[in-house]
């Protein structure tokens, strides 16, 4: 992009063409006051606060709407400008109440600040101020003070341009205009809370934070959101070791300055009644001989941890290393995952996993970061529903489509909210993702004249040849493709097939390409990188690569592939697996298999669960260890874009940090490393994990650092096959505000909780004679759940989409223990 040089207040500044004068001024620390302008939202020109003098222009100009021009001479401090600024501020304050002493925005209010710097010392207004409504709910979590609103339209522009939902609008006109919603309905989108951060006055406030603290009394902690895989940057404001509020902390490489409502208000779990605060021994499995040496009820957690390790060692001694296993978490930090895999590999096993789907670490092509979406001219979204899974990714895709001429291609088995932004939307039958992905790869390979060793079966997918042709053509003819795929929503080995597809795309000579794996969990990428998988050591080092494994991990490091999480459950059921440590995971509810998982876990000699909240699984554990979790913990996570960032603690706790506790366990196992600080674990990660060489706490800093690409092993996969049935294929969809352990009944977001719904295709609904609103039972895997029918075309005939709306709903139980796509039948109640 070409550069433009101009002069502002006598200072020469060079900026890219298209920059607004207001932004150019910032580069040279010249403060042009604004209210309505927000660099992420774009110019509005409403507030008129940023008037400046430009040589050769008769009128004062708004710096926020004006593009820089070569040799432009801008003056921001002339008498004319100062008079105008005072005038505009006087108008702005005319009907704004001076209730700063009780206003939550006080101390961080642009209106206060601009008045202080540029305003008139007093007002000439001598009439009654307009009597607008004070403190009305705009939603259960946002309060609007209409009398404080200066009608700058930032929030409504945010709704229109960023959310693109037109939920929040200006009603009426002139002096009577107001920010509102349709028919006074609540403004409760997935990202509504950002309007609080961007409101330049105290008109939109966080209901939860109102009157809780003065902003200057808060301790602000720069940390990360721990909900989804975007890892948005946040600032947690605390007072007296209590969480007061969460705000966005802009990081263009990650969140573009926005956070979702779950990130902002989904923090009640930190003070949940349900927290596990001490180690305990449950009286479960009393009929089975326990291998566990009892420990006193009031023993320190460290003591319990030592006992856990001793017990595991004992079982390994008696039954061999294959008799124990570890199910980790895609929600844990890199440090925690790293240490745990180290511990279990020291025990001699690769029975280590953290997921219920097939995946391998790394990518065969570049791992793009989130920002690359904007510079890609094609985003190919496979099996992903960012709106429900990674809301801030959804915003980024919408931004790319509307501002950057990016074209979105959706390849999915269900309709999603992003479809309406798609240039092309191709829907396959539920369960046929392997064939759909293969067909695209095959089509591209044929175009390239590449030899291919597989043949796809498009007719299984319900995709027409023409649709596939357009999809192939759209990818082939692009200049830069970013493939965004959700491995967690791909059944069987379809995730591996996507990697094969990526390889094909990388062979198109004219196309630059990269991918972003978007499993929704906080640290899904980190968990893979840290080797929480049965067949790979950290950094994608295959267990089969004996030489490298031994050079990194010692002579005794196990090189036999271990069991996957689902295999461990199966072996627990069969009795071959004796002991299992589950860390921050709830297999009893979240794994396929339902009751069978519970049976399997009950069958273990020893189940240890290390978690922060009580779950269905902790109830089955012999030993429960407390975990601190987000808010209290520290460590790094790697987001979907491969960016490593630091999660810092916001609240102090007396409880031992998870990484320290695992360190205790490692020590008990004879590992003498010792980590005085979490950063030391990161140092070891950077030494031992390929891709993380450049990562250290200083480099990661406040805004994070991208790790190097983690290489990916080519795996051979044959042709896709599909069984058939007269039942319906089940697709479990995600719902952002599911009522689970994190968003419990006391959550500020409880108004978003939903009832169980089954989305049926019109065709199936009519053949089953059910309609909208009918209550049905969904049966599968010997289990049943209730749902209400919604008839539409969310999926193709032969399938049913059921969003996971709560733990209680139990939808995962409809799947078979082996995790294969489930067949279900539907019965009208």
């Amino acid at each position: 992009m070409s550069e433009v040089t101009l002069t502002i207040d006598g200072i020469s500044v060079t900026v890219p063409k298209g920059t607004k004068v207001a932004d150019a001024a910032k580069q040279v620390d010249i403060d042009i006051p604004v209210f309505c302008y927000h660099e992420k939202i774009g110019p509005l020109g409403c507030c008129r606060m940023c008037l400046v003098e430009v040589e050769k222009m008769p009128k004062l100009m708004t710096a926020c709407t004006m593009d820089v021009a070569p040799d432009m001479v801008v003056k921001t401090t002339t008498e004319k400008v100062e008079k105008a600024q005072k005038g505009v501020l006087e108008f702005t304050l005319l009907n704004h109440p001076l209730d700063c002493p009780v206003c939550d925005k006080g101390g961080e209010c642009p209106l206060q600040d601009n008045t202080f710097k540029f305003g008139p010392p007093d007002t000439r207004m001598e009439f009654h101020r307009a009597n607008n409504v004070k403190a009305a709910p705009l939603s259960p979590v946002i309060t609007i003070d209409r009398e404080r609103c200066i009608a700058c339209q930032r929030c409504t522009a945010y709704s229109e341009r960023i959310e693109q939902g037109q939920g929040l609008v200006m009603l009426n006109r002139g002096f009577n205009n107001e920010v509102n919603t349709f028919n006074n309905e609540p403004y409760d989108t997935r990202y509504s809370g950002n309007v609080i951060d961007i409101c330049p006055v105290g008109a939109l406030t966080n209901t939860d934070f109102r009157f809780k603290a003065r902003t200057w009394d808060l301790s602000n902690h720069d940390t990360l959101c721990a909900h989804c895989g975007v890892n948005c940057n946040i600032t947690v404001g605390t007072r007296l070791n209590q969480l007061m509020r969460i705000e966005a902390r802009p990081n263009d490489a990650v969140d573009d300055g926005w956070i979702c409502d779950k990130g902002r208000w989904g923090h009640n779990f930190m003070e949940s009644q349900n927290r596990i605060t001490a180690a305990r021994e449950n009286s479960v499995g009393s009929t089975k001989p326990t291998s566990f040496p009892n420990f006193p009820i009031d023993a320190p957690t460290e003591h319990a941890a030592e006992k856990v390790v001793e017990a595991f060692k004992k079982i390994v001694d008696e039954h061999g290393p294959d008799s124990v296993g570890f199910i980790g978490s895609a929600y844990a930090t890199n440090e925690e995952s790293y240490l745990y895999q180290k511990m279990f590999r020291l025990l001699g096993t690769n029975n280590i996993d953290h997921k219920t789907y097939q995946d391998t670490p790394g990518l065969p092509i570049d791992h793009y970061d989130i920002e690359q979406i904007e510079s890609s001219n094609i985003v190919l979204l496979i099996a992903s529903d960012p709106t429900e899974e990674l809301p801030i990714l959804d915003l980024r895709i919408k931004k790319a489509v509307s501002n950057c001429e990016t074209r979105l291609l959706c390849l999915n088995d269900q309709d999603t909210a992003l479809d309406k932004y798609a240039h092309l939307k191709v829907k396959y039958k539920i369960g046929s993702e392997a064939s759909a992905v293969d067909a695209l790869a095959e089509g591209l390979a044929r175009e390239l004249g590449e030899a291919i060793e597989f043949s796809s079966t498009l007719d299984q997918t319900g995709i027409s040849a023409d649709e596939m042709k357009s999809l192939v053509e759209a990818v082939r003819s692009s200049m830069k493709v970013c493939v965004v795929y959700n491995p967690a929503a791909l059944s069987g080995n379809a995730g591996l097939r996507v990697k094969r597809l990526l390889q094909v795309i990388s062979k198109i000579p004219t196309v630059e390409c990269g991918a972003i794996p978007v499993a929704p969990a906080t640290n899904a990428v980190g968990a893979m990188d840290m080797g929480l998988v049965p067949d790979f050591y950290p950094g994608g080092v295959s267990v089969k690569d004996t030489e490298q494994v031994q050079s990194l991990w010692g002579e005794n490091a196990p090189t036999k592939a271990g069991l996957s999480a689902l295999e461990m459950i199966a072996k627990a059921k069969s009795g071959e697996l004796k002991a299992l440590l589950v860390y921050r995971s709830n297999p009893a509810v979240d794994f396929p298999g339902g009751a069978q998982v519970v049976e399997a876990l009950k069958n273990l000699d020893l189940l240890v669960v290390h978690d922060m909240l009580e779950t269905e699984t902790t109830q089955l554990a012999k030993i429960v260890l407390p975990s601190n979790g987000p808010g209290f913990d520290e460590g790094t996570t790697t987001n979907i874009g491969g960016r490593v960032q630091t999660r810092r603690k916001s609240l102090d706790t007396d409880h031992i940090a998870d990484w320290k506790l695992i360190n205790v366990m490692l020590k008990t196992l004879g590992d003498e490393t010792g980590y005085p600080r979490a950063a030391k674990v990161l140092d070891e990660i950077s030494m031992k994990v390929p891709g993380y060489q450049e990562i250290d706490s200083r480099g990661v800093g406040k805004l994070g650092l991208n790790r190097e690409k983690v290489s990916c092993e080519e795996s051979s996969i044959g042709n896709a096959s599909m069984d058939s049935s007269d039942k319906l294929r089940l697709r479990i969809a995600n719902y952002l505000f599911a009522h689970d352990k994190i968003l419990d009944a006391s959550s500020k977001l409880a108004h978003h909780f939903k009832a169980s719904i089954a989305f049926l295709n019109e065709k199936d609904a009519s053949s089953m004679n059910v309609g909208d609103g009918d209550a049905v039972r969904i049966l599968g895997n010997g289990m049943e759940i209730n749902a209400e029918v919604k008839v539409d075309s969310r999926c193709k005939p032969g399938g049913v989409v059921v969003p996971k709306i709560s733990d209680e709903q139990g939808v995962n139980g409809l799947q078979n223990l082996d995790g294969s796509p489930a067949w279900v039948s539907i019965e009208k109640v």
Binding site: L60, G87, V88, F91, Q153, R173, G174, N177
Partner: protein, 417 residues
């Protein structure tokens, strides 16, 4: 006086195709189609025609600013006539719809436009039926549609009704409204000629402006340019209202003395009262005192007298009126019509209203006049569109010329009015 637009205005049945054609209507098309589009643009430029909606921008120049080689392009006829005092376009729409259609066809041909809209204010609902009927007749005759008169030129024109918002007469607000949005003005640049309706190059012209074009094509630019003054060419429709005996729309040659309009055409002041003030170009322009009544009615002379020709609405005020009353009514209008987007306009119009209202209640303070002037200064040229400036015009000019009218109220401070 030469009558171009009003030549046959009161002819029975003029609004029908039959009568319109009998009187020579649509003759310009053949002439135009024999020329290249650029030649029409050049002729309009040469004629000196300036926009009759209020801003007075040279029409041919406006047409020539269209972004090169970007299609489709649109033509929007601004028939939102809402400027207080102005009702000339309504008369044209009501009585001579085909003249506008003919003008729009010429403009579209000249600018290579295939779709035109006539944006009429919502209150003109009945007029839209007349216009729709005329458009239907034009389609039936082949003046609109595909391959018009065998030239390969396609054009259709549709009516579009607003719904009550003065600001939609501002061209960029009109575009937002026509796109189905709130009638808030847009940022400029980009100008409509580059990114207008649906972000495509767009010509926006007032009804009267477009109605002049057939004459220019038929009679030649020179003939049109020979009318009026050196810089203000041609004729102008003036709506004369207020305290005159014969209010009405009159077509005059540019440069005709204002007094001629008031005393001759409009029959003089009612009840033979004395003229106190007049607003020459619609409520948005500064008012002038009686002693300026001989000012020639053209762009330059009125500007020299400290006001503007505006939309050509001459509002006549006799000496029975206290100007403050009139001023307050106009402020009230602008307060009501402010879209609310820009702070100085949204807040300023209301503040001015509050102060002047207070003055009229005999509760004014002596520094109110100074304050009014200062507030006006803080409003003018500080906003997106000229609505704030329009509100300031009557306040500043009334203080300038009729300060004593304000002072009347201060004499009675404390006495409830």
């Amino acid at each position: 006086m030469t009558q171009i637009l009003f030549k046959d205005i009161n002819k029975e049945g003029l609004h029908t195709m039959k009568v319109y054609e009998e009187l020579g209507g649509y003759q310009s098309l053949k002439k135009a189609f024999a020329q290249k589009p650029d030649e029409i643009v050049a002729a309009v430029k040469a004629s000196g025609l300036r926009g009759r909606g209020g801003a007075g921008f040279p029409t041919g120049l406006k047409w020539s600013f269209l972004a090169k080689d970007v299609f489709p392009r649109y033509l929007c006829c601004n028939a939102d006539e809402s400027e207080p005092g102005t009702c000339k376009d309504r008369e044209l729409l009501l009585k001579n719809p085909h003249l506008l259609i003919e003008g729009m066809i010429l403009c579209s041909y000249a600018c290579q436009i295939e779709t035109g809209y006539i944006y009429m204010r919502g209150e003109f609902h009945d007029l839209s039926f007349i216009m729709d009927k005329a458009l239907e007749e034009a389609r039936a005759k082949g003046y609109l549609g595909k391959n018009i008169m065998g030239t390969g030129f396609n054009l259709d024109i549709h009516t579009h009704l607003g719904a009550g918002a003065y600001i939609c007469g501002e061209e960029s607000a009109l575009l937002n409204s026509l796109e189905g949005g709130r009638g808030e003005p847009r940022m400029k640049p980009p100008f409509p000629a580059v990114e207008g309706l649906y972000s495509k190059p767009t010509v926006i012209n007032n009804v009267e402006t477009l109605c002049v074009v057939p004459y220019i094509v038929n009679e030649g630019a020179e003939k049109y340019a020979s009318l009026g003054t050196e810089k203000s060419k041609g004729t102008k429709l003036v709506s004369v209202s207020g305290h005159v005996k014969k209010p009405g729309n009159y077509e005059i040659e540019m440069g005709t003395p204002t007094s001629e309009l008031i005393y001759n055409l409009a029959g003089g002041i009612r009840n033979d009262n004395k003229l106190k003030a007049f607003i020459p170009g619609g409520s948005s322009v500064p008012m002038l005192p009686a002693d300026k009544v001989d000012t020639p009615y053209d762009y330059e002379s009125l500007a020299a007298a400290g006001t503007m020709l505006g939309s050509g609405a001459l509002i006549v005020i006799d000496d029975s009126v206290n100007i403050v009353e009139t001023t307050l009514r106009l402020i009230s209008f602008y307060m009501h019509e402010s879209c609310g987007k820009c702070t100085p306009c949204r807040e300023g119009t209301r503040w001015l209203y509050q102060i002047v209202e207070r003055i009229m209640q005999n509760k004014g303070q002596l520094d109110y006049i100074e304050k009014l002037e200062d507030i006006c200064g803080n409003m003018s040229f500080k906003t997106f569109c000229p609505l704030a400036d329009a509100c300031v015009a009557p306040v500043v000019s009334s203080i300038k010329h009729f300060r004593s009218d304000y002072e009347e109220y201060f004499k009675n401070v404390g006495v409830s009015s």
